[in-house]
């Protein structure tokens, strides 16, 4: 899978209240949640996002609450992937489980807002087209690859129990 998009750069410790404030947790609709993504910290973010864009951040992305509405809001506003130096433990699970492409990159400091990135998930390479640079991605462990390949945890479970309903 190849993802190409423009970067929206964020900092360390972006928390789930930043991603989607609790006052919007009265719906489970991805598009509805997407309208308020990053509203508390960057009110113009949603307007600036074009379909396929990429969020790049520092360490501990998605810390705080377990709300799966956070990765849903990111997907819902049109973001195609999140790259960060590390992810909070629950956000990491949620992203795997719902099939939001996310990438751990040891150092994201060389990537700036508005850079155009091309992510090749199969080859494990990110090309920074703007800066003519290439970054290598650590591959996912085999176990997680199986869930990703199934396009999320629910499909993985359905296949496992042969539930084709």
């Amino acid at each position: 899978m190849i993802l190409k998009g423009r970067v929206h750069k964020f900092w360390d410790n972006i928390n789930t209240d930043d991603i989607i404030a609790a006052r919007y947790l009265v719906t489970t609709n991805e598009k509805e949640l997407g309208k308020h993504c990053m509203e508390n910290i960057s009110p113009s973010f949603v307007k600036e996002v074009k379909k396929g864009d990429i969020i790049v951040a520092g360490k501990n992305f998605g810390c705080g609450s377990s709300r799966e509405h956070a990765p849903l809001a990111i997907k819902g506003c049109g973001i195609s992937a999140v790259i960060a130096e590390s992810f909070s433990i629950i956000f990491f699970r949620n992203a795997i489980n719902i099939g939001l492409p996310f990438i751990e990159l040891e150092d994201t400091s060389a990537i700036s807002s508005k850079d155009i990135l091309e992510i090749n998930l199969d080859k494990g390479i990110i090309k920074n087209i703007t800066k003519k640079d290439t970054y290598r991605i650590r591959p996912f462990p085999e176990f997680l690859k199986r869930i990703i390949k199934s396009k999320g945890l629910i499909n993985y479970i359905k296949q496992r129990y042969h539930l084709y309903v």
Binding site: R23, H69, I89, I90, V165
Partner: protein, 424 residues
């Protein structure tokens, strides 16, 4: 090499028990699965959309309507109804409707948590139950939907950080100060994905209510969970419920040759009450450095500090005193049982006469839901767990986190205040 208590619990919850080591991926069998009125509707939707029909064990599912209840608006009313309808359809015994309690205060109180249990909950503060020597952690709604189906959950085996606390602390220092101090030292990702095992003489001396506070905030250091080895205090607590073989509990100890990735040792002698400043639970200062901070609202409650012990210590300060004119004091007992006990002991009387507002049990104010939402520019001193931007309301409001003692003292003066001004 021996095992930590956390690893021992994992070993008893996998098929074909063998050896495990940090970073292994395993699938654990869970003893209890928890969801609330925010996270469960999403799980229920996924469960239905996937076409699942059966739940693995209706006795092992707990659904709690606690976040936006009694419903704050039509949308949250509908979400709460999704929860209730699902509970009815599947005859889920452990459904707790509005006002019964905040999940993490309620479940232990209901006797649903035992040492050695493995619990997953679609709420980040599920780590609270480590206080009883259970292995419990927060998951997402999809995890919840999956656990409904087969009672299992995937997990990357975490390594453990050990935290040892010694020294002589004053009676104005609470578990909240200890955990805030710790998060201040290691940062909001200081224990990212790890187990925080809390031990040492100071921890041994904490009551159950305080231990819940301590483990509750492990997530705020990025940890998967926090845990305390069960001892007489936790045994006493669980004895009121059904009796598992207490002898087995003695095996719930970390081996002397267990592997710890890091060991932190703190001497807390002379520690002052701690306050987390905006906008991070790791932005910690001693209370005496903040005496010029004026506040508009004080909130005492939540899964962190809404238990009877918390209300008792706050009432000690507020007894026969009045809060600062113009300030709002909101007190929310975490469960109905706490509410009734506070009523019986006259604590609610003290809060109301001091000028406080009492609300039925709800998470509400902690996450800017209802019952205490902040306006632009307002400052709140709260006994909750997070002070992120906009956490309790307007993105331009400010939240400080503290113990109930500091919160009560500050409600009287209208600025952040050391409880020693009112208690010796």
């Amino acid at each position: 090499m021996g095992y930590t208590i956390a690893e021992k619990i994992l070993l008893t919850h996998i098929d074909k028990p063998k050896s495990i080591k940090p970073a292994d991926f395993i699938e654990v069998k869970v003893d209890l699965v928890l969801g609330n009125d925010i996270t469960a509707p999403l799980a229920i939707e996924e469960f239905r959309r996937a076409g699942f029909k059966k739940i693995f064990d209706i006795k092992r599912i707990v659904l709690v309507a606690d976040h936006f209840v009694p419903a704050k608006d039509m949308k949250s009313a509908n979400q709460a109804k999704v929860l209730l309808d699902f509970a009815k359809e599947y005859r889920i015994k452990n459904y707790f409707g509005p006002g019964i309690g905040i999940e993490h205060a309620l479940l232990p109180e209901e006797g649903l948590i035992f040492p050695g249990d493995l619990i997953v909950g679609a709420d980040s503060h599920t780590c609270t139950y480590g206080a009883l020597g259970a292995f419990s952690f927060g998951v997402g709604s999809t995890d919840l939907a999956r656990a409904f189906v087969d009672g299992r959950c995937w997990l990357k085996v975490p390594s453990t950080f050990k935290f040892i606390y010694r020294g002589k602390i004053s009676n104005l220092i609470t578990a909240k100060d200890i955990i805030l101090f710790t998060i201040g030292k290691i940062g909001v990702d200081g224990a990212l994905g790890k187990v925080m095992e809390f031990c040492g003489p100071i921890i041994k001396g904490l009551s159950m209510d305080e231990r819940f506070t301590l483990c509750n905030m492990a997530i705020e250091a990025g940890a998967l969970t926090g845990i305390i080895e069960p001892d007489e205090i936790s045994f006493d607590y669980i004895k009121q419920f059904k009796t598992k073989d207490l002898k087995l509990l003695n095996e719930l100890r970390s081996d002397s040759d267990a592997y710890y990735e890091k060991i932190y040792e703190y001497d807390l002698s002379g520690l002052q009450p701690q306050v987390a400043c905006p906008h991070s639970p790791a932005n910690i200062k001693s209370v005496d450095k903040l005496k010029d901070i004026k506040i508009d609202q004080v909130f005492i409650g939540s899964c962190t500090n809404g238990r009877i012990h918390d209300l008792r210590i706050a009432a000690r300060i507020l007894k026969n005193r009045k809060i600062k004119k113009g300030l709002r004091l909101i007190v929310i007992p975490a469960t109905r049982k706490v509410y009734l006990e506070a009523l019986k002991e006259g604590l609610l009387d003290i809060f109301i006469k001091a000028g406080g507002i009492i609300s039925p049990p709800t998470c509400g104010a902690c996450l800017g839901g209802h019952m205490g939402v902040l306006a632009e520019g307002e400052v709140c001193l709260s006994t909750t767990n997070r002070n992120f931007i906009g956490r309790m309301g307007d993105p331009k409001s400010f939240v400080y986190l503290s113990s109930p003692l500091v919160a009560a003292a500050s409600a009287i003066t209208g600025r952040i205040t050391h409880p020693q001004e009112f208690l010796k």
